[in-house]
Amino acid sequence: MKNDSARGLNRLALEIGYSLRGFLQTFGAGQIFLLRLIINSPYALARPRLIIKQVYVTGVQSLVVIMLAGLFVGMVLALQGYLTLSKFGAEDTIGMVAALGLTRELGPVVTALLFAGRAGTALSSEIGLMRATDQLSGMEMMAVDPIKRVVVPRFLGGVIAMPLLAVIFSAMGIFGAWLEGVIILGVDEGAFWSQMQAQVELGQDVMSGIIKSIFFGVAASMLAVFEGYNCVPTAEGVGRATTRAVVHTSLSVLVLNFMLTAWLLGGT
């Protein structure tokens, strides 16, 4: 009996050790892959058409999702802010609350999460399918580097699209907050904008959101193409790579967000 539990414990420790090693290995492979993407970026930049195509695929085709999400997030921020702040007679500040929340946090983070679901999955399953159907090996045989031709343009397209999407999300969110707060709930319009303008700063709040979304763009695009490129070349493998891309992107965006907030806004 005692021997049994000791064996179980032993196996548990082994499992933890293995998964930790697996995690570190993947993490290291990801860093090397990111470095490869960055080193190969100049080659891709020489072919802007490929990148424009990818900005279209990741950015323009996510636009409707981002705009709708932004609108409703802004509206719910205004509504929640109103319900709480009107207890203190401070409902005039909902514009400020919504704008700060959107530009600093929700804009970049929710955009990155939606991006992972909308564009990241498309990227990893596309590259994964290319891997599974030996298109990538075919390119290698024709002396075309698939990293330069396929992976890097997709990565750069995502990196370019993300900050633009985040800014559009924030702007739509503020429009939604205005719609809900001023038009529906009847908050004074002058107070709505002036409170916002008095408290939101371009350098600190808006720029920190943009810096965040650039980091998220790099992380989300890198993880999506990394999982696709390194997937097991079967139908199941492509599916699992796509799932992993979304899960890893979402988690790393949230972790990265905390670290970036601590760095940019300073918790000291």
Partner: protein, 155 residues
Amino acid sequence: MQQTRAVELGTGLFVFMGILALFFLATRVTSFDSYSGDEGYELTARFDQIGTLKTRSPVSISGVQIGRVTSIDFDVERLEAVVSIRISSRYNRIPADSDARILTSGILGGQYIGLQPGGADEYFRDGDEIAFTQSAVVLEQLISKYLFERGGDGD
């Protein structure tokens, strides 16, 4: 070819929308307007007590904001707080004997510097020091003063 054109058009529109959104955030959402750069002139003022005044706190005259606090320092020699403020060059005819007070906006609001115009013919110039200042009122000091005076009445 048709499709390439649609892609380029869509991407162009997308980037344009992004820039438009950024422009909206910069102009409508933040107070991007007046004195953001180096224009205007700088004054200093010394206070015994600045309360919760911070850099970027507003400086106003008759309730109209004319500048911001740019830096706060402590003079070890004279044991006073030294506050530098930058005033928009539009307001370049403020009498040189005006006094500066640290006031509080609202009950829970932040503190700001209010200028009270004097009557001199001279105007403040860049680098001048505001000679007449009034420190911030600290709530604890006010309460204790009130309590001690009440105590004195009772005797």
